[in-house]
Amino acid sequence: MCLAIPGKIKSIISDEPLSRTARVDFGGTIREVNLVCVPEAKIGDYVLVHVGMALSTIDETEAQQVFRYLREMEDLSESRESGDEIS
């Protein structure tokens, strides 16, 4: 029910205050999406869309966080292991 999927803004088709609307591409399927809650979103941005409303703009740097964390975690445990060997 809280399913929300990321899509890319292709074009803005209305700039009315209560119905700022974009055409958003979800892997080839295009849908109209209300952008009122993401006033900063612009063409080319990825937005997270739930029942026709964009709820947030996806932060492209933060998108790497889960992989970055994994690498750091593994580097740390490797250095800990090699540290153990020395002592």
Binding site: M1, C2, L3, A4, I5, P6, K8, L18, S19, F26, G27, N34, V36, C37, V38, P39, Y46, L48, H50, V51, G52, M53, L55, S56, I58, D59, E60, E62, A63, Q65, V66, F67, Y69, L70, M73, E74, S77
Partner: protein
């Protein structure tokens, strides 16, 4: 698809699984709040990858499941009227009220339409000025901005034929209700990422502190969920009880201020009955007084209706993490997705339906009662 596929990478998931095994020294029980997460966990078998010491309990985060039977009965009463076009998300169609479901009203000639967005219902109201268009506005905080926006658009366009039947629920009061229960077993939570996309996570900070539970804001893809579990276990092992954000590509601490403003303009906090659980104080949203002309309960005179729920189904215990579906005598026999007895079997995000679809009658883990018996 970008921002989806990369979070399903099995190698990365396995590396997190290994890391979880390395840090886990004790038995821990954590609950994912959101039905979407339950669905992913069962679908991808994430729970079966975890060390035996970790138990995942499935929370009450399926709005379809927790919508009380009396509201379904009200929906059915309204949808049966000849002048009404009743619009709903598809998942609500087969949820049983005390007797029928919406699908049977449709089969009997009721004009019921499945819509993707509440904004589609507003469009229908514009196109059908001589009919009454009613939207069944259910959902958590995630869905509230869209539902609020629909009413705002209807008001702005001066529509007199659009109303909403509101059954909005809120997550933090449900977490508090679970933690306050004397037989609570949950030691940590994965908070629902899309709820937090709207609300941020400041509301969870006092809960983490007061009840000494880690709460990790978590996304919906396998890698997101497994990282959420890792961070939650890590906090438990280190005796930290904080709110942590594992879904920063979508969620920030303050949430979406614009969405919160839209919701705040339309809705006020009300007491709400949860199916299988009962009334939780201040756990829902209802329309503000200024918008009562858009309230379907008032327009169609069904506000006072109250009904008792059937007792056979143990979904209330499942929703609070006390039982798992195989513990229910009706599971897979009298109760299946084709003939659901209780709400957790109806929606694909309901715990019973997720187990049934992906596990049939051969659950991977031991059932909850066996677990308790074995100590």
């Amino acid at each position: 698809m970008k921002f989806l596929d990369e979070y399903r990478d099995p190698t990365a998931v396995r590396r997190y699984v290994r890391a979880i095994a390395e840090i886990t020294t004790r038995d821990w029980t954590i609950m994912e709040i959101c039905g979407g997460q339950t669905h992913s966990i069962v679908k991808f078998g994430l729970d079966s990858l975890l060390p035996d010491k970790i138990t995942l309990l499935h929370g009450p985060g399926c709005p379809v499941c927790v919508t009380p039977a009396e509201l379904i009965d009200k929906a059915i009463e309204i949808a049966s009227r000849p002048e009404v076009i009743f619009c709903s998300f598809g998942d609500m169609m087969r949820v049983p009220g005390t007797g029928k479901d919406l699908l049977s009203v449709k089969a009997a000639g009721g004009d019921i339409r499945m819509v993707y967005s509440p904004l589609d219902a507003v469009r229908l109201a514009r196109e059908n000025p001589h009919r009454q268009v009613v939207f069944f506005a259910i959902g958590f905080e995630t869905t509230a901005p869209a539902n609020a926006m629909a009413v705002m658009q209807a008001k702005q366009s001066g529509l007199k034929n659009f109303t909403v039947l509101v059954s909005h629920v809120l997550v933090p009061p449900a977490i508090e209700a679970i933690l306050s229960s004397p037989d609570n077993r949950v030691q940590g939570f994965l908070a629902a990422g899309h709820v937090c996309a709207v609300m941020g996570y400041t509301e969870y900070e006092p809960i983490a502190e007061q009840f000494r539970v880690p709460i990790v804001v978590t996304g919906f893809e396998p890698l997101d969920i497994i990282q959420g579990i890792y961070l939650c276990i890590k906090q438990l092992e280190e005796k930290r009880f904080e709110v942590e954000n594992a879904y920063s590509r979508v969620v920030n601490r303050e949430g979406n201020r614009t969405a919160q403003r839209v919701m705040g303009d339309l809705f006020r906090v009300v007491n709400r009955k949860w199916r299988g659980i009962g009334e939780i104080p201040a756990s829902g949203l209802g329309l503000k007084e200024e918008y009562k002309e858009f309230d379907a309960e008032l327009r169609f005179g069904v506000a006072g209706k109250k009904v008792e729920e059937a007792t056979e189904c143990i979904s209330g215990l499942i929703l609070r993490g006390m039982k798992k579906p195989p513990d229910c005598p009706a599971y897979g026999t009298k109760c299946t997705p084709e003939h659901p007895l209780g709400a957790t079997m109806v929606s694909s995000e309901g715990t019973c339906a997720a187990y049934y679809s992906y596990r049939r009658l051969a659950p991977l883990g031991k059932s909850e009662s066996q677990r308790q018996k074995n100590g």
